[in-house]
Amino acid sequence: GAGVSQSPSNKVTEKGKDVELRCDPISGHTALYWYRQSLGQGLEFLIYFQGNSAPDKSGLPSDRFSAERTGGSVSTLTIQRTQQEDSAVYLCASSLVGGRLSSYEQYFGPGTRLTVT
C-alpha cells in the first residue's frame, strides 16, 4: 500500500515569504508527527496530532509555525515570514496508534527540503 507522502519534495523560497508543506499519512493511521532536520543536526520534534485530541505543539520553534490536520488525515505545516534558519528537511511521520510503544512504529515520509534564500 501507499506510504506517507509529502509535497513538495523541494521548496526554495525567499526570506519573508510564507510556505505550506503537505503530508498525506498512511490511511488509517491516527497519529501524525512533524519533525525537522537541519543539516548536521538531530531530528527535532515539531508537533504531534493524535486522533481528535488537541495537538501537542510543544516543539514548534516560534509562532511563525503552525500546523493543522483536516479530517484526521492530511496535514499542512505552515511557516510564515520564513527566515534562513528555517532551512531544513521537514519530515512527516504517521503511526497506527500514538503513545503506546508496542504499536508505535512510525512511518516516515520522504521529507520536504526547504531552502530559504
Binding site: G42, L43, F45, D56, G99, E105
Partner: protein, 112 residues
C-alpha cells in the same frame, strides 16, 4: 534507491544483558549515519557517525561505523528497563540534495 536495513526488528532481553543492534545502509553520497531512541513521541538523538572505525560512547551506549562494509552497530551494555524503546538508524546523504533515509527501527524490550 537508498535504503537502510535494521536487524533484528525486535528483541527481548533481561535487565543486565548486553545488546547489539545492527544497521546496514545503501545511501547515495553518504555523509552521516544517525541513531535515535524513540519512546513516545519525538525520537531522541543518540549519535551521529561520519568517520569509519571511531567509536562514539555515551554512558552505556556506544556505536561505530564501518564505511567499507556500509554497516553500523549500536551497543547497549547492562541494559535497564528504561532502555526499552525503538532504536532508529538513519542514513544521511550529503551534497546538494541532502536527505535522510530511515530504517524501520529495532524494538527493544528490556524485562526486569
Amino acid at each position: 534507491e537508498d535504503k537502510v536495513v535494521q536487524s533484528p526488528l525486535s528483541l527481548v532481553v533481561h535487565e543486565g544483558d548486553t545488546v547489539t543492534l545492527n544497521c546496514s545502509y545503501e545511501v547515495t553520497n553518504f555523509r552521516s549515519l544517525l541513531w535515535y531512541k524513540q519512546e513516545k513521541k519525538a525520537p531522541t538523538f543518540l549519535f551521529m557517525l561520519t568517520s569509519s572505525g571511531i567509536e562514539k560512547k555515551s554512558g552505556r551506549l556506544s556505536s561505530i561505523l564501518d564505511k567499507k562494509e556500509l554497516f553500523s552497530i549500536l551497543n547497549i551494555t547492562a541494559t535497564q528497563t528504561g532502555d526499552s524503546a525503538i532504536y532508529l538508524c538513519v542514513g544521511g546523504s550529503g551534497g546538494s540534495n541532502y536527505k535522510l533515509t530511515f530504517g524501520k527501527g529495532t524494538l527493544l524490550t528490556v524485562n526486569p
